[in-house]
């Protein structure tokens, strides 16, 4: 990162990943999932309850993953990102399954992360990715 060659260990220390799969257990509650991710992820000092509030999941602390919709599970994944202190976020289709509010939320989170000195690498099908930060676009074609 920052122009240096990196190996696997460095990569793991500096990256947070959100993909198509939820990345948390359907049998555990939102808070339990976040606490676990926080313990094994890049250590940050955020509060899981507050992170849930920020992604619009206040009141779902004790709801298990299975009882949440796809969009809510995505928001839980975003809360996980929010709690990680990794400088680089790798996002695979972060806008999928989200409503307009959710899309604005992703943009807001990315905006704040980049303003704080982080970087985001994301893939998307839609053209609605418009976080308020400098963007470098790479168009992939078959």
């Amino acid at each position: 990162m920052a122009g240096r060659t990196i190996d696997q260990a460095h990569l793991a220390r500096g990256c947070a990943f959100l993909g198509h799969l939820p990345g948390h257990k359907a049998e555990l509650t939102a808070l339990e999932n976040l606490r676990y991710s926080q313990a094994i992820g890049v250590p940050g000092d955020g509060d899981p309850g507050q992170a849930l509030q920020e992604v619009g999941l206040a009141g779902f602390e004790d709801t298990i993953g299975r009882q949440m919709s796809a969009g809510q599970n995505k928001r839980l994944g975003l809360a996980r990102l929010r709690l990680s202190s990794a400088p680089l976020w790798l996002l695979d289709e972060p806008y999928a399954n989200l409503d307009l509010d959710g899309i604005a939320l992703v943009d807001r989170l990315i905006g704040r992360h980049v303003t704080a000195g982080g970087a985001v690498l994301l893939t998307t099908h839609g053209a609605y990715a418009a976080p308020p930060v400098p963007i470098r676009t790479l168009e992939l074609q078959r």
Binding site: A9, A12, R13, C15, A16, F17, G19, H20, L21, P22, G23, H24, K25, A26, E27, L28, E32, R35, Y36, S37, A39, I40, G41, V42, P43, R80
Partner: protein
């Protein structure tokens, strides 16, 4: 990585895995039920002659425990791979082998330990002579974690295959054979009045080796399978 980070992660992993087992406790009872059924079938099939059953008991008990362990092996990483939790573990700054070691520990604790507690009852079903219970229990206490660790490596190797139940068994069984030979052999030797502690030492040595190497091998196999 500092020691406290490792400790905290192990605690979190332990808590998560125990919670998961508790929320799916129906599945967790499966290995115990399976072993109980297998052992209960033998007296029905062979007749209830005390001497005959006692002679077969060490082998039957060991095979029942081994197969019931095999039954739960596929679930070790399957659900984590399907919901992306495994990707998150891979992306963790912590050593994957450490998380895997805790995962396997919980697997042993929840699938083999209840079975170990039930073993004296199963032994009674098979008329195993009382003095043989000590070598049986000792060989199982050392043998079952060894089976779990070997199984963890094989399950990691086959995680890329969607329906891996068959290939998993075919790959795991040859590696289980030495454990079975020494485990059951130890009890048979004790039954014949021969010294049996040698097999226990061998199992203990195998376990020590597997505790160190198996999590590393499993972690490497998972990385290969998922990248």
């Amino acid at each position: 990585m500092s020691g406290t980070g490792l400790y905290a992660a192990a605690k979190a992993q332990l808590g998560r895995d125990l919670r998961l087992v508790w929320r799916r406790r129906g599945d967790a009872a499966q290995p115990v039920l399976f072993a109980l059924m297998v052992v209960a079938m033998f007296p029905l099939a062979l007749g209830s002659e005390r001497e005959k059953l006692a002679q077969l008991a060490p082998g039957v008990l060991w095979v029942a425990v081994l197969l019931s362990g095999l039954l739960t092996l596929d679930s070790l990483y399957r659900s984590d791979a399907e919901d992306g939790s495994l990707e998150q573990m891979l992306m963790s700054p912590l050593p994957l082998s450490w998380l895997i070691a805790v995962r396997v520990g919980v697997h042993w604790l929840t699938s083999a330990l209840p079975l170990l507690l039930l073993t004296p009852v199963l032994a009674e079903l098979m008329f195993l002579p009382r003095p043989l219970l000590a070598p049986l229990m000792l060989s199982l206490i050392l043998g079952t974690p060894l089976l779990s660790l070997i199984g963890a490596v094989v399950a990691a190797l086959t995680i890329g295959i969607r329906r891996s139940g068959m290939i998993l068994s075919v790959l795991a069984l040859p590696m289980y054979v030495p454990v079975l030979v020494f485990g059951a052999g130890c009890v048979v030797a004790a039954a014949q009045g021969l010294p049996w502690i040698g097999a226990i030492y061998l199992l203990a040595a195998g376990l020590a080796l597997a505790i160190v190497l198996a999590p590393l091998a499993a972690a490497t196999a998972l990385r290969i399978a998922l990248t």
